[in-house]
């Protein structure tokens, strides 16, 4: 990473595609597990959910500079959202696999499906899934140096897009849905509309906030990220699938694919649009009068110096 020598706005350059893939897959996957719980979807959806989280985990390991020490990330649960997220993922994968094994009668010889152990594992998996959908929003919002993330609304939006991605995954696998199809399609439409308004409010408030927050919005809507934002998030990710699920539900899989594209680009765009407030900005109201003289002041000063010099020479 090359550090700059200018005082202007700089967006964070540490996180890009790999972290976006992780947050997208883990959010969509764990959200799908929540849909599996609340809509009593077929077991295949729980397996799909686990697969997405595990695949995302592989992307996260690639993101790490020293992946062989990843287990150490469980050691700061008190302060670090990443640590809490890592614990949730470990619990989700372990309890999710055992819970699926239990539900598919593979583990009947160990414990019965409806027994206390099976219910306990299922409950832990569901709670961990909820935590995985929630934590990335808090993880990013904790960064006080980046105002675009550091808002109370951001974790809500992040959760909303996780559920949107989950509905996209469910629609993509709509051949397994059966009677649950209408409920998931309705959920997708509601979540798309809600996310659209929440993110819209966020963008407007960030624009009005000015400074680095406004620069983030500029990057998204009129800067280098605008193709990914307008094309990927708004058009392909929200408007097209909304039209499909409100119109012909026979193309639910296509709507699901579009939603997934939108959910992914949302993660990518919001990560890349994280702009720092420049550390070197001088505080408002500070007396920098010696440095910030107007041209007229300087001209008067220079004229005075010239007169003084002439007098001394004379």
């Amino acid at each position: 990473m090359a550090q700059g020598f200018n005082m202007g706005f700089r967006s964070q350059r540490e996180w890009g595609w790999l972290l976006a893939i992780w947050i997208f897959l883990s959010g969509s996957g764990s959200g799908l597990f929540l849909l599996y719980v609340f809509y009593s979807l077929p077991l295949q959806f729980a397996m799909l959910s686990l697969g997405a989280v595990i695949l995302g985990g592989a992307a996260l390991l690639l993101e790490l500079g020293s992946p062989l020490r990843a287990w150490l990330s469980l050691s700061r649960l008190g302060t670090s959202w990443l640590s809490r997220g890592a614990l949730s993922v470990v619990l989700f994968v372990i309890c999710g696999v055992l819970s699926i094994a239990s539900a598919s009668s593979v583990a009947d010889f160990l414990w019965p499906d409806g027994g206390a152990i099976g219910k306990g594992l299922f409950g832990i998996a569901a709670l961990s899934a909820l935590m995985i959908t929630l934590y990335p929003g808090f993880f990013l919002a904790r960064n006080r140096s980046i105002p675009f993330w550091n808002t109370a609304l951001f974790p809500v939006i992040s959760f909303g897009f996780a559920i949107m991605g989950a509905s996209g995954l469910a629609l993509l696998a709509s051949v397994w849905l059966g009677e649950g199809m209408n409920a998931i399609a309705s959920l997708a439409a509601i979540v798309i509309v809600l996310d659209f308004f929440l993110f819209g409010i966020h963008l407007i408030s960030m624009w009005r906030a000015g400074g680095a927050a406004r620069e983030s919005v500029r990057l998204l809507t009129g800067g280098p990220l605008n193709w990914a934002f307008w094309g990927g998030v708004v058009l392909v990710g929200m408007l097209v699938p909304l039209v499909i699920v409100l119109g012909t539900r026979s193309a639910a899989a296509l709507a699901g694919a579009c939603i997934l594209i939108g959910a992914f680009f949302f993660r990518y765009c919001t990560l890349k649009a994280g702009v720092y407030v420049p550390a070197a900005v001088l505080p408002e109201g500070m007396d920098m009068s010696r440095l910030k003289r107007t041209s007229a002041d300087l001209m008067r000063e220079y004229a005075g110096m010239a007169t003084g010099n002439a007098n001394r020479r004379g």
């Binding site: 200018n6 150490l72 700061r76 640590s83 890592a86 550390a279 910030k292 041209s295």
Partner: protein, 207 residues
């Protein structure tokens, strides 16, 4: 919980009226710590202001602020980033860092970096000097200004402080009211960068 009162609180005062933007501190840090290409533990930012013919440059040296409430330490999932017990130096345990980039993003002063390779300044082959200095850090883990902790422990000033030709940088114990840095801060108007974030930075800019 009451905050633990440290015996020593190291700080740096930067006199913006004295800084000429010569980058001596940047180079001295490179020499002392052997940081890899593209990574600077301290650097002087520049900004042009005004218009021709009355244009001028503002210079602002930036570095790790060794904050009393460092956001980089709180976000670290492994405890690799820590505050030294006997003073306020924020350091990184290279053997615990997993390179998750959380601290790099969390630092409001953009003072942390993660080297992606151990290439030297002169191509694939590192110089003997680079081979020795690169032992201080690992590829893929976070690194930052240590305020030359080895020198401090020997009773010396950090390299950047020693080298500043205009004496724009002053280092010392902020807990000692008689130290030169404490006196300067008491006498001069100053500000702490991004103090509104609650980081309690220990770098003071004198204006």
């Amino acid at each position: 919980m009451a905050k633990e009162l440290k015996k020593v609180k190291w700080g740096v005062a930067i006199d913006l009226k004295r800084c000429t933007g010569c980058q001596s501190c940047t180079v001295a840090c490179k020499l002392e710590n052997g940081t890899p290409p593209g990574i600077f533990w301290t650097r002087v930012l520049e900004k042009e202001e005004g218009t021709y013919p009355f244009a001028y440059k503002l210079f602002m040296p930036i570095r790790c602020n060794h904050c009393s409430n460092p956001p980089c330490v709180a976000v670290c999932p492994t405890g690799a980033s820590y505050v030294r017990e006997n003073d306020n130096l924020v350091l990184i345990d290279q053997d615990r860092c997993i390179g998750c980039h959380s601290c790099v993003v969390a630092c409001p002063y953009e003072a942390r970096s993660i080297p992606e390779s151990d290439k030297g300044y002169y191509g694939e082959q590192t110089t003997p000097y680079e081979q020795v200095s690169y032992r201080k850090w690992q590829v893929g883990t976070a690194q930052k200004c240590t305020l030359c902790v080895d020198r401090i422990d020997k009773g010396l000033n950090p390299a950047c402080i020693e080298t500043c030709p205009t004496r724009a940088l002053v280092f010392g114990d902020l807990n000692d009211p008689d130290s030169p840095i404490s006196k300067l801060i008491a006498q001069r108007s100053h500000y702490q960068p991004r103090a509104e974030l609650g980081t309690e930075p220990n770098v003071f800019y004198l204006t």
